[in-house]
């Protein structure tokens, strides 16, 4: 009888019911789209950021992240690579060497003398061209010139040395493809590390801050230059899915033979970026809270109105011997029935909206600059969170805001209520 009464009461005045239904459905829809949108955006940003450069997992010598010394190396990176190759969740990996250098450029046609026009301090990254290409699609970001090559057949660059400059760095140095430059640094054995290179390409990674002070040489060149034969500073790991990163990090860490190595996820080595994401998530929570609050106010208002309109009916129920608990349960159930209908309607609408946004996305005009990384399009993702979080919010809201009016109705004074028209 309780369910029957509640169900029929919900539909007895359709116009009155439509208002809270629309409010709750709207709240569900907005929350769901916001979550899907933010999840999709975060995933896009994180995947873009990590796939473009850092990877989702990195293996270093213990302490390298805090103190990136040239001596803190992964000594047998091939063994680590073999471990990574055996883990199904790892899509690809690539080794890297990092060091700080001083660059001075000698423009084409400047003759054979030591005529250097501009100089700048920079970071050099030694990369394996083929593995880097597989990991980060490095060549797709080369603006002019071409990709580094490890091929022995490439005799010209084998002789001259080859380097790729970040776009902003090339502007600072006033250098272009074909120019020569000299790189000065210190090798791991204490000797002077210097060599001439010909600029083979200019890259625009999408992050101007990085491109302002970064250049790239081949891993083999870097190992020779810095006296790090067979060693690297970092192994960058690309996973198949963002959701498995934490599990894979633990798996890799457990599989490492060399206990001087450590494995970290992007949440650690890109801590600032991760914290930025978390801060954005907080703003999403605030937004959902505001949406829920607005919906709650609307529902509360309608249920209060409904209780006031049915005061006489509650008086009759009380007169007939209905206990207050029955009336409370009936009203809370009515609100929850409306909540469940809203969740169903909201789910259908949200699915349609999320499907559209996940397929077509929104073009950012102007593009969104997130920590120097530029995003031109954002797409939504459809996750279970898009449904269960708004659903729980709607049901809790319905139960909470209906309780006070229900209490009021349950304590209606029968004699007084029966006098009302």
């Amino acid at each position: 009888m309780l369910v029957k009464l509640a169900w029929r009461n919900v539909f007895r005045q359709k116009r009155r019911t439509i208002l809270p239904l629309l409010t709750m459905t709207g709240g569900f829809f907005l929350s769901s789209i916001s979550i899907g949108w933010m999840d999709g955006s975060y995933s896009s940003i994180i995947m873009f950021f990590t796939n473009n450069r850092t990877g989702q997992i990195q293996v270093h010598h213990r302490g390298y992240l805090e103190n990136p010394s040239i001596y803190s190396t992964v000594n047998d990176y091939q063994a680590v690579g073999a471990l990574l190759d055996s883990i199904p969740g790892v899509r690809v990996w690539t080794p890297r060497i990092y060091s700080g250098v001083l660059l001075a450029v000698r423009p084409q046609g400047a003759g054979s003398g030591n005529v250097f026009s501009n100089s700048a301090a920079a970071s050099v990254i030694g990369i394996d061209p083929a593995m880097e290409e597989a990991a980060t699609c490095f060549s797709s970001r080369i603006e002019s010139g071409e990709m580094l090559s490890s091929s022995a057949a490439d005799t010209f660059y084998a002789a001259t040395g080859q380097i790729i400059l970040g776009r902003e760095l090339s502007i600072i140095l006033d250098a272009s493809v074909g120019d020569s430059l000299v790189m000065l640094s210190q090798a791991a054995d204490g000797s002077s590390a210097d060599r001439m290179y010909v600029i083979r390409g200019i890259i625009s990674s999408g992050n101007a801050d990085i491109d302002r002070n970064t250049c790239y040489i081949t891993l083999s060149d870097a190992q020779i230059l810095f006296a790090l034969q067979g060693k690297v500073h970092e192994i960058t790991v690309m996973t198949r899915s963002l959701g498995t990163v934490d599990k894979l990090t633990d798996e890799i860490s457990a599989g490492l033979v060399d206990k001087d190595l450590e494995t970290d996820s992007w949440k650690i080595f890109a801590r600032e970026f991760y914290n930025g994401m978390k801060a954005d998530e907080s703003s999403l929570k605030i937004m959902i809270f505001v949406i829920v609050l607005v919906a709650a106010m609307g529902v509360l208002n309608t249920i209060l109105m409904m209780v006031l309109e049915r005061r006489r009916e509650f008086g009759v129920m009380k007169a007939l011997g209905t206990r207050p608990g029955f009336i409370i349960k009936m009203i809370v159930l009515e609100a929850n029935i409306m909540g469940i209908i809203s969740v169903i309607a909201g789910s259908i609408l949200s699915t349609a909206g999320l499907l559209f946004l996940s397929k077509h996305g929104l073009v950012m005009d102007p593009p969104l600059d997130y920590g120097g990384t530029v995003f031109r399009e954002m797409i939504a993702s459809i996750t279970p969170e898009c449904y269960w979080i708004p659903a729980i919010c709607v049901i809790i809201t319905a139960s909470t805001v209906s309780f006070l009016p229900a209490l009021k109705a349950a304590h209606t004074k029968a004699a007084k209520a029966l006098r009302t028209i």
Partner: protein, 233 residues
């Protein structure tokens, strides 16, 4: 107080506060209602009929005085006990029918038995039995809005009696009905009173009702102004 007394009221006073002005709705009434009575409380509008009935039924608390219902002192009961007592011992018929609009005739009549926890099969049998008696069994599946005023009041009568209460209280049961329907309803109520022995107490200022009452209590300005038989009115 005897075993035959359904209601015993002593020194009942009910005073309302109307924006700081005390309104004396009921003034020092002593009253006893006995089993099987079919009594009408009559009086002009504002004489305190409804207030008096509400106090007797435990829907309102008296400012002064005591009320015993079937031997139990109302003021000694908690809200829950009083609620359960009303459910089990008093049937109500209201002026405006007050049926639940979302429930069918059968479900409306069944409602109180459901609160009492009567088993489903027994509920159905008793509902159909009382609907037969009040002559609206054929409308069992209809909603109240699909019935005439007289039919709705018959449903209300059925609802008030189906739980087999010791007392049925009716506040102006015919106020919204024409005289022919009123007469028919009262005849039916009186017949049920005779058949079941159930006690009926109702307020009215309707001549048709007065003529059918076996006892009449006259209320004037919140006080009992006399008791009479219908012929004396």
């Amino acid at each position: 107080m005897t075993d035959n007394d359904v209601i015993v009221a002593e020194g009942i006073v009910k005073t309302y506060d109307d924006s700081g002005v005390p309104v004396h709705a009921v003034r020092d009434i002593d009253y006893t209602l006995q089993k099987g009575e079919f009594t009408a409380i009559i009086g002009p509008s504002g004489s305190g009929k409804t207030t008096f009935l509400n106090v007797l039924a435990g829907l309102d608390t008296p400012t002064e005085g005591k009320v015993w219902l079937s031997g139990k002192l109302i003021s000694d009961m908690s809200g829950r006990e009083l609620s359960d007592f009303r459910r089990d011992h008093i049937g109500f018929i209201f002026q405006a029918y007050n049926l639940f609009p979302v429930l069918t005739v059968e479900e409306n009549v069944e409602y109180v038995m459901l609160l009492q926890g009567v088993p489903s099969g027994e509920r159905h049998d008793r509902v159909m039995d009382i609907l037969e008696k009040v002559g609206i069994a054929e409308y069992a599946g209809r909603l109240p809005m699909q019935l005439s005023g007289g039919q709705q009041q018959r449903v209300a009568v059925a609802r008030s009696m189906v739980s087999r209460p010791s007392l049925v209280i009716a506040d102006e049961p015919t106020a919204n009905l024409d005289s022919k329907t009123s007469g028919a309803l009262l005849d039916m109520m009186r017949r049920l009173n005779e058949e079941t022995g159930m006690t009926f107490l109702f307020s009215t200022h309707d001549e048709v009702v007065m003529q059918r009452a076996r006892k009449i209590v006259v209320l004037q300005d919140g006080k009992i102004d006399g008791k009479a038989s219908p012929e004396e009115c």
